[in-house]
Amino acid sequence: MNIAEMQHLEKQTGVMPTDLASLDAWLDKKLDEKLAQRKAARTPSLAIIATKGTMDMAYPPFILASTAAALGWDASVFFTFYGLELLKKDLQIKVSPLGNPAMPMKMPFGPDWLQHLNINVPNFVAGNMPGFESFATAMMEQTTKTKGVPSILELREICVESGVKLVACQMTVDLFNYRKEEFMPEISEWIGATSYLANAKDADICLFV
């Protein structure tokens, strides 16, 4: 009996075929149907571990998490070590080309040729000139504004609004002598590695940033 005949029989009688070979084929078909149904009904999930507290490294977790939420996925971000800086009430994150050699240093304004010019800043300038970090940060903020890329604060608000779970590492607070009052009240929970791994275990996508 082939599958078409079996389907016909099933429709007519509503029962499973009885001979072994047909039963095997029938089960395969049923299993495929069931798996497809479950896959369609399942909500995909994203779990990100954010360990860096600089402006450049703040973008990937917030962009991916907010986009996942927009797609209707379950998204959570576990902020640990320097990543915890990204959950401060008073968000003061910076970026520096020092020790960050791939970072382009380009002017966010001026004539077109200048905006495309990569200004090589030697490490002794980036490291020793007072205020250089603030300058580089201001340039990056201006660049994102000109290009229509949202600020970290804006992305963080979108994450909160769209139900991304912002999870903070309990150990880091103790380690760096932070006070919990310094952090945003929207943090969904303060947990450790064991609890987050349990959350992340079933995620479809798990990323370390």
Partner: protein, 75 residues
Amino acid sequence: MEAKQTLDARGLNCPLPILRTKKSLVAMQSGETLKVLSTDPGSLKDISSFCSQTGNELLSSQQQGKDYEFFIRKA
């Protein structure tokens, strides 16, 4: 094509066009049409991917000069 609502996402870059589209759709009724305008070249693929994953129907997507224009029917 007629749209119930228009979202102007011109000048915005990834991921804002998608996030704003989602926000606009949430406030709309099922079956209503949203028109989205954008300038981000990435939105061409992103909007189509967003629609296929969320079940909303992308009725049309086209480029008009520097602008992209999308019509989405809410599922």
